[in-house]
């Protein structure tokens, strides 16, 4: 049963990723594109956790944690670039 739930969950997240992609393509604004990427990161983290459950291993945990962390950093950097130009001032 869990297998089916996992497949379902992965399908949902996969669908979500495609939707993010669509927003990324469509935009229209820069904020939308960054938003799409930010959401994509979150979906990917969810996907990796699901994958970890499916494989029954915690070996992928660091990857998801790191992705969550650096995803934030890049989102902030993109936004600061638009807002201020110089991301470190």
């Amino acid at each position: 049963m869990i297998t089916y739930a996992l497949v379902f969950a992965m399908a949902c997240i996969g669908l979500g990723l495609l939707m993010n992609l669509w927003l990324l393509v469509r935009g229209p604004g820069r904020a939308d594109r960054v938003l799409a990427l930010d959401t994509m990161v979150i979906n990917v983290v969810a996907l990796l956790i699901l994958y970890g459950i499916r494989q029954g291993t915690g070996v992928y945990f660091e990857a998801s944690m790191l992705i969550a962390m650096v995803g934030f950093v890049s989102t902030v950097a993109y936004c600061r670039f638009i807002l201020r130009g110089d991301i470190i001032e």
Binding site: M1, I2, Y4, A5, L6, F8, A9, M10, A11, C12, I13, L15, G16, L17, M19, N20, W22, L23, G29, R30, A31, D32, V34, L35, A36, D38, T39, I42, N43, V45, A46, I49, L50, G52, I53, G56, G58, F61, S64, M65, A68, M69, F72, T75, V76, C79, R80, I82, L83
Partner: protein, 132 residues
């Protein structure tokens, strides 16, 4: 069996909220409205999946796993900041101060108004010492 059902419920809830979040991105028309969508993915979406994971390892794999909490911690800490920045980005790219309500004080919103001059610097404004 019950255990499995519990895990599955969390998985399904998480997945659905994640999907709704992404769907919202497409459906909502305005960037500010779209900004509301991912909060679902970060909170209940990921939350559901993480809880499912913890329960799965605890109940089915018999290993106590709580490092998922770290991811929750990160997301709860960072998501608001990201959203805040995205909102500011949107405002700065698409809006004028006049499109926004008054701040109600002497100073306008921080995007458009310089901050008040600090009366007392916390330390002397020494010339920056390059470390090299």
């Amino acid at each position: 069996m019950l255990v499995e059902i519990v895990v599955c419920v969390f998985l399904v809830i998480g997945a659905l909220f994640g999907l709704v979040g992404s769907f919202g991105l497409l459906k909502l028309q305005d960037t500010m409205q779209r900004l509301h969508a991912p909060t679902k993915a970060t909170t209940l979406g990921i939350g559901g999946v993480l809880i499912a994971s913890m329960l799965y390892f605890l109940l089915i794999k018999d290993s106590f796993s709580f490092h998922e909490l770290m991811i929750t911690l990160f997301l709860f800490l960072t998501a608001p900041i990201s959203a805040n920045f995205l909102a500011q980005t949107h405002i700065s790219l698409r809006m004028k101060q006049s499109d926004l309500p008054e701040s109600g004080g002497a100073y306008g919103w921080s995007l458009f108004d310089d901050p008040p001059v600090m009366e007392k610097p916390s330390e002397p404004a020494a010339p920056t010492q390059a470390p090299h």
